[in-house]
């Protein structure tokens, strides 16, 4: 009995004093204002702030500048080689410099004060960079097999170097089209015909006609025409979307990818219009560029008919006519 008690006590003590479970490191980084556009005259310095927060576990972070460039017309970018740095950057915070590890405690924030200098002989154009905060991987045990992950988070720095006092910010709608089952020429216009419950892809592109970055934002309205009245059916928001100078961009609504499941979003239209009943519909787009009060409009009409039902009725009529003719011929003979 005594032996058993002694045995249980020893086990209890061993469990109590055994080391606690070891947890994996979680990294969570964020930038508060991840997109800034800076217009600067040559030979001028501007200082701006980027608030950086480590919400995860304590870690060391290094700051870097990376160069980016436009990849496609869907708003994707690629990381370019930083061979020659045209714009010069400097971190003003004490104890913080580029490529130097900085210890960040959990839930600690730092306001990174960044000076941006445009040298005198720089070509007057747009320059795209990102301020990158990158973690240092944790040290690992000798003799273990593992892969360590470095996590990086970027905040954009779009710089326009210009000596002009004013840059015209001008954009235009370059494409506004839908893709229905059938398209028929009708007088001077085209008639788009679809079936009930169709999802109609809509494509909307905007063009930046100015010498600097531009953001396009707006709405798409779907209305139904009923006896000279326009009945609003749905309104879709177009969140602000960046367009590089003298390029085009396919604009997208915020609803699209949450409505669809996953990978269709890779090559998406601007919007999938869902129409539940037959009728005559109108789609209007309203766009503004860089928050200007002037808007651009475009609209188109389409017709939704009970397509398969009409085909069935048409086939039935043809079949009845053939049967009728055959019967008549049989009677005659």
């Amino acid at each position: 009995m005594i032996h058993n008690t002694f045995f249980i006590v020893i086990i209890a003590l061993l469990i109590y004093f055994s080391p606690h479970s070891i947890y994996a490191q979680q990294i969570s980084l964020s930038f508060d204002t991840p997109i800034q556009h800076i217009k600067i005259k040559p030979n001028k310095v501007v200082t701006t702030n980027y608030r950086f927060t480590n919400s995860g576990d304590p870690t060391t972070v290094k700051f870097k500048i990376i160069k980016i460039k436009q990849k496609d017309t869907l708003g994707n970018i690629e990381i370019a080689q930083l061979s020659k740095q045209e714009i010069l950057f400097k971190i003003n915070n004490e104890n913080i410099d580029f490529n130097q590890p900085i210890f960040m405690r959990s839930k600690e924030s730092k306001d990174i004060s960044l000076s941006i200098f445009a040298p005198d002989k720089l070509i007057l154009q747009d320059y795209s960079y990102a301020l990158l905060a990158e973690t240092d991987p944790q040290p690992t045990l000798e003799g273990s097999t593992n892969i360590r992950i470095k996590e990086g988070l970027g905040a954009y720095i779009f710089v326009t170097v210009t000596d002009k006092e004013w840059i015209e910010e001008k954009g235009a709608i370059s494409l506004f089209a839908i893709k229905t089952r059938f398209t028929l020429p009708f007088s001077n216009m085209r008639l788009f015909i679809g079936n009930k419950n169709d999802t109609i892809p809509l494509y909307l592109s905007a063009e930046n006609q100015s010498d600097t970055y531009l953001q396009a934002a707006g709405t798409i309205q779907l209305t139904q025409q009923k006896k000279n009245k326009k009945i609003p059916i749905e309104s879709y928001s177009l969140p602000p979307q960046m367009i590089f100078a003298h390029t085009q961009r396919l604009l997208q609504t915020s609803f699209l990818c949450d409505d669809l499941n996953g990978k269709i979003c890779e090559e998406p239209p601007s919007l999938l219009v869902k129409v539940k009943s037959i009728g005559f519909y109108n789609i209007t787009v309203t766009l503004s560029f860089d928050g200007n009060k002037t808007f651009q409009y475009a609209h188109l009409n389409f017709l939704i008919i009970p397509f398969w039902e009409l085909i069935a009725i048409f086939c039935t009529i043809i079949a009845l006519c053939i049967i009728f003719l055959l019967l008549r011929n049989t009677k005659k003979s």
Partner: protein, 228 residues
Amino acid sequence: MKRLFVILTLFLLFTFSVHALEMQSGEYKLEIEDIQAPTPIIQEEIKIENSTLTPDPLSLFEQQGYEIRTLDLYPFTITLKNTTIDFKNIHEEHNQTRDITLQTFHENYGYQLFIKQDTPFQTRQKEEIKATTCSNKFKPCTPQYAQEWTSTDTYGLGYNIQGKGSDNDFRNDTYYRPFSQKEYIPFASYPFSSVVNDLKINLKIQTQQTKQEQSYQGIISIIALPKL
């Protein structure tokens, strides 16, 4: 003697239980002096403007020679659940896969993700596990394009991504890409999401059965940028 053996077994059982669980930051008690950098000295007065509220950017640019517009007022966050992925020794298990979860959140805007192999996956003696070429030797996978990797006689290191916004070539969880050691390769992109998106990154190692007992280590770099 038997009891001693049982006690020793129990001791080993409880003391060596190492778990890779989701991190709980509250459990850390760091006793480190405050090393936060002092408040930065602002050299010039900055006027940050919302793009939708630009009262007179012309005069600002004229007077100061610069103008700053904050185009996005929403924080952009990336969370990695685990920063070290442990594998069993290669000589014990020749085919291993491990998952890591990556979360991104950016209200209003979306995100783009890039990946690169920073250091080769190798031993101290520089014996490297090379990048996989996937199953079909006539259509090998590349850092830009995933292919099916199910054959047991194709060796190397590769990764698969599953989740909203992962690139189309990752058709299912058997499609892998090798890492690029030269440049950052985009592997996921997602526009406008108001919810936290989870992406599962699956790392796969497959080696020949003759590999000797050695430890391999490597570093992979993942970068997240807002989608414009």
